[in-house]
């Protein structure tokens, strides 16, 4: 039996470990776990974000635990719960926001729900169709007093809070053309947006916030003016109809534009209020309508009626508005010469800034300027027609070069008095009537009738056969003449004359035989006595000479030169007349003349002349024979006696000789002074004209028509003579001359007429332009476009609704 060996006795020594030794290291594990859990819990709590509350009227699409809150498209938080506010009026959305962002959520923070949006300006938020809506926030980059409750916006704001720029408020009376998001244009570039227009608290005006992006906001100062560009404008002017469209967006949504017309304004700050004007022109004019702007008040005393001038009418200087008529009143003036006098006092307010002075110019500066201009440049006030249709007047400061010296009455009350000049009031009715009358008075129809008659007459003359037959007639005339010369009677004339001479020779011979010489001596003696008498008479010559000189002086005094001038002019006129086409008819007359001459020459009376001549010679011969047979010498003696007595008579007459001589001299002198050269020239011109006439085609063509019958020519000549065609032509020419003179007279007044017409057109243009801006057509077009815009808005809202709730298409809701 083998005993199982017992193991060696164990050396057991119970230890005495301390508390720390007995504590297991495993205890670190729960400690670490606890620490880790606590850390996780704390971390989770710390990072869960700040709870904020956003109140929305419409929480469409927002889901608890799902909808994100984004800032600049980065998720910064999440909606935790959605509940109703008390009264169920609003939806309260609780959201956790990243704690690093939360301090920025101050009072300027805004939240809105981003949904798909389709508008004129574009499509936005398309990504939310799939992912669902999210809440977008906007705030500036500076932490402020942190807020925990916000009111959400129903529409995305046009301008984000953190956007650089300036937000201003615009005030207008009519917001019909303004829509949210409408562009703000500056020189045609979009620089900002309008927010939603709102009715002001008092309901009197519409205010709309506008945001202008940086850096364009620096263009806005307190002197900036905004106006409604209203989509498009139609202006009717002298150049036709002009259609101006700024942009498609502004066509549909409306829009405004601005400009800083005058420099020197203060920079604007957020929230500054501006007026919105209906048009650019009004906006620009309004710059000077600031009631705070200092104005220079002047009084003008107009004579006569100022009907048509109203308070508010413009005061213009060189066509530019410089002020306004502020008051019209009648005022009694005490005149030392004429006694009390009622004058119409017009008070005008002139804006110094418009007179070219600087912005800081005071009314006193303007008064000094105007006083100087009145003195040096004759500046005067006058009434001019502003609108020829309505008859409205305005006051013009006019630099009248013809004005008499005048001064501004600086001492007058209540305001200095500006001197006036003649008014330039145009009555359109009278002007038009005058123009029409002048046009009506032009004898155009008579002129035309005369001209037509003249042409007809000339045509007839030229076409007449008689003209072409004139050479034939002349040839016939020459032949007739030759026949006469060649006639036997004519041939016999020389022989008979010789016989007469022979007989005279015989008579003279007889006279020699009858102591004719002695008789002649007596005669000569008598002549000597006569000469002596003449001699004696010549002793009276000095007196005669004086008379002659007086006569010559008298003759010289005669306006012979004028006479010659007139004669020359007459010749010139004749010349001109001959040169006229009227004288083209002269050939016919000439032909008629030649014809008549030929008839005359061909007449038996003329044929009988040689016979008669010969018979006369024969009779003379008979007489001489008779003389020879009678006591010719005795007769001659007695004749010489008669000659003697004649000499005595001459002697007697010689007494009058000086006077005769003087007259002859005067005549000679007068003849010398005659403008013979002019006469000759005129004559030669006349001849030239005649030559030209003869050389004219009509005359050249004469041979071509030789075959035409003489009878017709004669008949035509008779007609011409009887019908008085030339007279008619002359009368026609006279009428034409009168008409021309009338036209000339009218033309002389044409410049003035043209000037007035130009002024008329200018005024009409101005009127049309002033009417074009606010015409009924324009208004109706605008209203139509507004209707279109409303329709577009409706479509837009429908699209928006569908995109917000796409399933409504399916569900039919």
């Amino acid at each position: 039996m083998t005993d199982t060996p017992t193991p060696a006795p164990l050396d057991i020594q119970p230890g005495k470990p301390g508390l720390l030794q007995r504590l297991s290291l495993v205890w670190l594990v729960p400690l670490i776990a606890l620490a880790a859990s606590l850390w996780v819990a704390w971390d989770n709590y710390a990072n869960q974000g700040t709870l904020i509350e956003i109140a929305f009227e419409n929480a469409s699409g927002i889901k608890a635990e799902e909808t994100e809150v984004k800032y600049k498209d980065v998720t910064i938080g999440r909606v935790e719960s959605v509940e109703f506010a008390e009264g169920l009026g609003e939806v309260l959305v609780h959201a956790r926001i990243d704690p690093t962002i939360a301090p920025y959520l101050d009072q300027d923070a805004s939240f809105w729900v981003v949904r798909p949006d389709v508008s004129v300006r574009g499509i936005s938020g398309l990504d939310t169709v799939l992912s669902g809506v999210y809440i977008e926030g906007s705030w500036n980059d500076e932490p402020d007093v942190q807020q925990y409750a916000f009111v959400g916006l129903e529409e995305p704001p046009i301008a984000r809070v953190d956007q650089a720029g300036v937000a201003i408020t615009l005030r207008t009376k009519d917001g019909s053309s303004l829509t949210s998001g409408a562009p703000i244009l500056h020189k045609g570039i979009q620089v900002g947006y309008l927010e939603t227009p709102r009715l002001s608290a008092d309901g009197q005006s519409v205010t709309v916030s506008a945001f202008v992006d940086a850096p364009y906001d620096r263009r806005i100062t307190t002197n900036t003016r905004f106006w409604d560009t209203s989509g498009f404008s139609i202006s009717l002017g002298a150049g036709g109809i002009a259609l101006n469209v700024n942009s498609i967006a502004s066509l549909i949504e409306g829009g405004i534009a601005f400009d800083t017309i005058v420099s020197g304004g203060e920079p604007v700050e957020d929230g500054d209020l501006f007026d919105l004007f209906e048009s650019e022109e009004v906006a620009r004019n309004s710059l000077f309508d600031d009631p705070d702007l200092p104005v220079l008040n002047l009084a003008i005393l107009f004579d006569g009626s100022v009907s048509g001038l109203t308070a508010g009418a413009e005061v213009r200087f060189r066509g530019v508005r410089v002020g306004t008529v502020t008051d019209l009143s009648a005022v009694a003036v005490e005149d030392r010469v004429t006694g009390p006098l009622v004058q119409l006092r017009t008070i005008i307010a002139v804006e110094p800034g418009r007179m070219g002075l600087s912005e800081e110019a005071t009314p006193e500066d303007a008064l000094i300027l105007i006083t100087d201009m009145v003195r040096t440049a004759n500046l005067r006030a006058r009434l001019v027609t502003g609108n020829i249709l309505s008859g409205a007047l305005h006051v013009e400061l006019y630099e009248d070069p013809d004005a008499e010296r005048a001064f501004v009455n600086l001492g007058a009350e209540p305001y200095p008095v500006l001197p006036t000049t003649d008014n330039a009031i145009a009555d359109v009715g009278d002007e038009a009537q005058t123009v029409l009358d002048r046009v009506n008075d032009l004898p155009i129809e008579e002129l035309l009738t005369s001209a037509i008659d003249l042409m007809d007459s000339l045509d007839q003359v030229v076409r007449s056969e008689g003209v072409s037959q004139a050479p034939d007639e002349i040839v016939a005339l020459l032949q007739s003449t030759r026949e006469i010369v060649a006639s036997e009677d004519m041939q016999a004339i020389p022989a008979e004359l010789r016989a007469i001479v022979t007989e005279l020779n015989g008579i003279v011979g007889d006279a020699g035989e009858a102591d004719l010489v002695g008789r002649i001596g007596e005669v000569v003696d008598t002549a000597g006595v006569a000469v002596a008498n003449i001699d004696a008479a010549t002793q009276n010559l000095p007196a005669l000479t004086a008379e002659i000189e007086a006569l010559v002086a008298k003759a010289n005094a005669l306006e012979v030169e004028a006479l010659i001038t007139e004669a020359t002019a007459t010749l010139n006129q004749i010349d001109g007349f001959i040169a006229t086409e009227a004288m083209q008819a002269a050939p016919e007359a000439l032909v008629g003349l030649v014809d008549e001459a030929r008839v005359l020459i061909a007449s038996e009376d003329l044929q009988a002349i040689p016979t008669d001549l010969r018979r006369v010679v024969g009779q003379i011969d008979g007489i001489l024979t008779t003389l020879a047979e009678a006591d010719v010498a005795t007769q001659l003696t007695s004749a010489i006696n008669a000659a003697n007595s004649a000499a005595a008579s001459i002697d007697t007459a010689a007494t009058d000789l000086p006077a005769i001589t003087a007259e002859l001299n005067a005549l000679a002198a007068r003849a010398n002074t005659l403008d013979l050269e002019g006469l000759v020239n005129a004559t030669s011109e006349t001849l030239n004209s005649i030559n030209a006439l003869v050389g004219a085609d009509t005359t050249q063509d004469l041979p071509a028509s030789l075959s035409v019958a003489l009878d017709e020519m004669a008949m035509f000549l008779a007609e011409v003579r009887e019908g008085g065609a030339i007279t008619n032509v002359n009368a026609a020419l006279a009428s034409a001359a009168d008409a021309a003179q009338a036209i000339e007279t009218a033309a002389a007044s044409l410049p003035a007429l043209s000037a007035r017409a130009t002024a008329l057109v200018g005024q009409t243009d101005a009127v049309l332009q002033s009417y074009g801006e606010r015409s009924r057509f324009n208004a109706e077009t605008m209203s139509t476009l507004r209707d279109i815009q409303e329709a577009a808005d409706a479509v837009s809202s429908l699209a928006r609704a569908i995109q917000r709730n796409p399933n409504s298409l399916l569900t039919g809701r």
Binding site: L10, D11, I12, Q13, P14, G15, K16, R22, L23, S24, V26, W27, V29, P30, I32, A33, L34, A36, S37, V40, A41, N44, E65, E66, L130, S131, G132
Partner: protein
């Protein structure tokens, strides 16, 4: 030195691990601590194109019930909530009973210990599901599943509980009986 050593292997010789209960309690407390965030924080982070959801264990069970998946809901509920809780309670009960040297129900307690030790590993089902889903469903923006803090916490909690069970020396159940006799 006061510690007996094996003459052959020089290992420290000890009839009872005197720090056994300390270890049990330490691991148990750690497991309980981590079990809290495991149920508070999301287990699964699910991102899809249209939504992003986080689900806790209990939330998942509720969802499953809402979707009338009662079977799966029951499995998840039992495996992820009932069993861990039961283990905590069982281990705590065993440890307390040992400390108080209770002599009643020694056989049952030993069986309980065996069950606890056996069943502990099955509690990791949830973690496996999360791990598999996270690995499989990674489709970028369209859909993705990620483990949340709770997944880590839950896994640690289960592991710590298993350590706790391992630390328990079942012989101590019977020690009380010996001392009593």
């Amino acid at each position: 030195m006061g510690t007996a050593r094996c003459a052959r292997c020089h290992g420290a010789l000890q009839s009872r691990d005197t720090q056994s209960l300390q270890k049990v309690w330490a691991w148990l407390i750690a497991g309980v601590i981590l079990f809290i965030p495991a149920n508070i924080y999301p287990m699964l982070l699910t991102n899809t194109l249209v939504e992003k959801s986080e689900s806790t264990i209990l939330g998942g069970v509720v969802d499953l019930v809402h979707h009338h998946a009662y079977g799966i809901a029951a499995i998840v509920f039992v495996a992820s909530i009932l069993i861990p809780l039961g283990k905590f309670l069982a281990i705590a009960y065993l440890a307390l009973s040992v400390q108080r040297r209770s002599v009643i129900n020694m056989h049952q307690r030993h069986k309980l210990y065996d069950v606890v030790e056996f069943i502990g590993r099955w509690s990791m089902i949830d973690v496996f599901v999360v791990a598999i889903l996270s690995a499989l469903v990674q489709l970028n923006t369209i859909a993705s599943i990620n483990p949340g803090i709770a997944a880590v916490s839950f896994a640690l909690s289960v592991i710590f509980t298993m350590f706790s069970a391992q630390s328990f020396d079942a012989r101590m159940i019977w020690d009380a009986d010996r001392t009593a006799t």
